[in-house]
Amino acid sequence: MKRTKRSAVLALSAAAALLLTSCGFSGGNDSGGSAESEGAQTTLEMLVPTYSTGTKALWEGVIDDFETEHPNIKVNLEVQSWENIENVLKTKLQGNQAPDIYNGGAFAEFAAEDLLAPASDVASAETLADFQTAFADAEKYQDTQYGLPLIASARALFYNKDLMEEAGVKNVPTTWDQLHDASKAISDKTKADGYGMPLGSEEAQGESLIWFAGNGGNFGDAQKIAVNTPANLEAAEFMKKMIDDGVTQNDPGATQRTPMLNTFIQGKLGFAYALPQTVGQIKKENPDLNYGIAAVATKTGSPATLGVADRLMSFKNDGSKSAAVKEFFDYFFSADVYTDWVSTEGFLPTTKSGSEKLAGDETLKPFLDLLPNAVFYPTTNPAWNATDGAFKSLMGEIATGKSAQEVLDAIQAKADAAK
């Protein structure tokens, strides 16, 4: 008994000692107070999502080089998965601990509450002038630019040549009806599914906008979110027709994009809308796949696609760090650093200098060609984030019995409630 007692006491005192001396691997040294005592040292908190498995290393490389050039600035990098990052950000905002640098998909709701630093405060005029005008305009809330467009991406139609041949489909579909018939042929005549429609919570908003854009539709603009418009409704009804006619995979309402694209990569799917990263994935996971990339199929065949842009932004907090943030953004968006970053992640560049440098890139070319006709999410509307959420949780219901009208109305209602 004595032994037990003594070892218990030992363990506890060890515990106490450890807790008093160390509170974690970096505990204690990054609290606000100590930074000032070291003179001009500024610490920037940076919160970014993982685009790929290499994202963290890529940012660490950028930060290391930046810190070498700017010894008075330290950047604390925090990387979170897409699933968790908004949760983490919101908690930080509530605790008044907004990150100085944030990489995200929506910015208008932050700008609407005056939480963001205007782009002109955190980037030099040269850096801002280098962004392509269309992208820069998409970063404005009430005529002030807040976000710095980081990446762009467009969707294109990926088709499996072997399956098309097996099903006797000669031409790559360019219209809805052609896509429908080609998918039907593949569904009927091969063991594979025709068209992959991911309306699960991962990508319902993206898949929807691809189809809406194919009918001249969109999700609205900075002033008004407009989901249940006639053009959108017609597109949604055609999506429902694809599902009801059985030319898609099973259970499209609960299908996520990543596994759906994986079935395409594995050669078990005729058609799917995919993005530049998919090319790299095919190279890695199934290099023998006989596939092609074409423009999105639209109602009439006129070109349209979904464009996506993510951005960097700076929460202004007390404003004392904007000079340091400016140093960082100017460094990051310099042609070499930025081009390297964006091409490693496999995205399309948003800067003029970057586009010039990557113009010859074969993988990106089909997507770059589509970009001029791209429709973007209404990220400049503060209600966009809630609309996005409504699409993710509700759009799949067109596959589980509800009418297209009902579903679009429900999404519209959620968007209106978010104002």
């Binding site: 509530q94 919570s201 609960a254 299908t255 809630a386 959420g389 993710k392």
Partner: protein, 309 residues
């Protein structure tokens, strides 16, 4: 091991004189540390949650103004709520009930000697040791219609013609979630009961056997009453944990559109994640908490897990 403990039979226990009463002050050195820990860590966040439920909070988390009870009326007016409550009820009752029945049998089995028992005991603990998210993820991907290994296995043995989307429709997804929840709840329940079985005194059993009671009778009237307090605590913790479980349903039913497969917990998550309403989700959390509180109060009142004192 040779001589049984001189424990009084259940009947004798009731005769025991009531325990001596102490003042609250004299209890402080004993319960004080636990009390302090709870007050220091739990009270503020819980209070903050309740406070948030009465505020109007913007989608980015800025506290705008008081909302009174408006958030609560919004919740109760939600047409999806009855289905969600029904799902929650079905979820908790089926998981806890089946878990307890299986665990009682398993605990009994694991208390019997046989070669390799330690290995079996260790295997049973693995689902407990593993993270629930990961266990669920394995099931989720195993049941994927295309590259799921379980689905593939069912097809290979001729049980099905082609892969089935178990997790793609509300009812099968809910059923599969129940199975996973039972699977991960069994180890904890079994071990609590197994520990409880160790306290069943041998002489009581001996006495029962001498009276000529059969196996089932002995179990029902001698063993089970002795297991009572362990069982009561195990059921209590299970009810709470199953009620509040998010990871299993989030993974299993997360891709299903609408609210047909939601429980209160997954609904709270969706309101926060997709609708970005911290105020509404806080109000829902308060409602969720109140429901658990009432259930537990009724449970403690009727089952009296602390009866021995």
């Amino acid at each position: 091991m040779s001589s049984p403990v001189p424990v009084k039979a259940p009947a004798g226990r009731k005769l025991r004189r009531s325990t001596d009463t102490q003042s609250f002050i004299s209890s402080l050195p004993w319960i004080g540390p636990a009390l302090l820990l709870i007050l220091a860590i739990v009270v503020f966040p819980a209070g903050y949650m309740i406070y948030n439920s009465t505020r109007k909070i913007s989608s980015v988390g800025t506290d705008l103004h008081s909302a009174g009870l408006a958030n609560f009326s919004t919740i109760f007016a939600d047409p999806a709520l009855p289905r969600i409550l029904a799902n929650t009820f079905f979820w908790v009752v089926s998981v806890v009930l089946i878990t307890v029945v299986i665990s009682l049998a398993l605990a009994q089995f694991l208390s019997k000697p046989f070669p390799g028992r330690t290995i079996v005991r260790m295997a049973v603990i693995v689902p407990w040791a593993a993270s629930v998210v990961m266990t669920t993820t394995v099931f989720y991907y195993g049941l994927d219609p295309n590259y799921g290994i379980f689905n593939h296995f069912f097809v290979q043995i001729g049980f099905m013609d082609e892969g089935f989307g178990w997790t793609k429709n509300a009812i099968p997804a809910m059923a599969v979630s129940v199975v996973v929840a039972i699977f991960v709840s069994i180890p904890f329940t079994t071990y609590t009961l197994l520990a409880g079985l160790q306290a069943v005194p041998g002489d009581t059993l001996e006495a029962a056997r001498m009276d000529g009671a059969g196996r089932w009778k002995t179990y029902l009237f001698v063993v089970l009453p002795q297991l009572r307090s362990a069982l009561a605590v195990a059921v209590l913790i299970n009810i709470i944990n199953v009620f509040n479980n998010l990871p299993i349903l989030k993974v299993m039913t997360g891709s299903i559109p609408g609210n047909s497969a939601d429980t209160l917990m997954t609904y709270i998550f969706k309101v926060l994640q997709f609708d970005r309403r911290l105020d509404l989700s806080s109000a829902l959390s308060v409602v969720n908490f109140a429901i658990v509180l009432v259930i537990v109060a009724i449970y403690v009142k009727t089952v009296k897990p602390m009866q021995e004192v």
